[in-house]
Symmetry: C2
DNA sequence: TACGATATGTGGCATAGCAATATATGGCAA
DNA sequence: TTGCCATATATTGCTATGCCACATATCGTA
């Protein structure tokens, strides 16, 4: 139970919001993003490489994030992504959308006394 | 904008929670469920027939809901679904899981000052 | 040498949403 | 009487996407 995700299904769709949010403050690379999500959710939400990297390419292709390779001696090359101006706008819209969605779910699942 | 879903992606996975919640108080049929969700979310969340009916079959197959045909003169036959004891337990677990998920998302997307 | 952590990448399968389409009934308007 | 809309359930086929398993590559440590 503790090794499993909170719910694999619910992770879908929220992935973009999570990644864009984490890139808001500073550029980060893929592995860092996956570890951050894992730690902050206390292991509840986990991104697999096979989901994360293709998603990063999609976000970059849409122009929401911009990646650049950083090579430092003593470590494998990393691709750091940062939010583009377009990505900042999308993030704001997604935050609003997420709020609205959570409220809608709340109204539907909790209004059984109506 | 108003004709579009809040976000098609976020609907994924929450579908089961929505349906189980709506069946908690009383048995309902498919079309009724889709209309209820649409109205309570003020059009933000909408279930298409091609998603809803297969989902209802899946839930019934898993033993979480039980359907029965109701035929009344003057209207098309309807299939009313009600929660099974197993479904009640699953609903409780899904409610908890949803809460935990929303909190985890909040921690990840809002902790950029850490 | 061997293993684990870091770091990125991909082929292929399974799931699942949705557009389009179909069937069937009843009410209402042209 | 013909046509259209709302109700109500159902399926086919396309597409998007998550994940298992595997691969590549570097570094530290035992």
């Amino acid at each position: 139970m503790a090794t499993k995700s909170i719910d694999a299904e619910w992770k879908k769709g929220s992935a973009e919001l999570l990644i864009l949010s984490l890139l808001e403050a500073m550029p980060r690379h893929g592995y860092e993003i996956s570890k951050l999500i894992e730690h902050r959710s206390e292991g509840g939400i986990r991104f697999h490489a096979a989901s994360l990297y293709p998603l990063l390419y999609r976000l970059e292709k849409r122009g929401w994030i911009q990646g650049r390779w950083v090579e430092k001696s003593g470590q494998r090359r990393r691709r750091y992504y940062q939010l583009t101006p377009s990505g900042v706008k999308v993030l704001a819209a997604q935050r609003e959308g997420w709020q609205a969605f959570v409220e809608a779910i709340s109204r539907i699942t909790g209004a059984e006394n109506a």
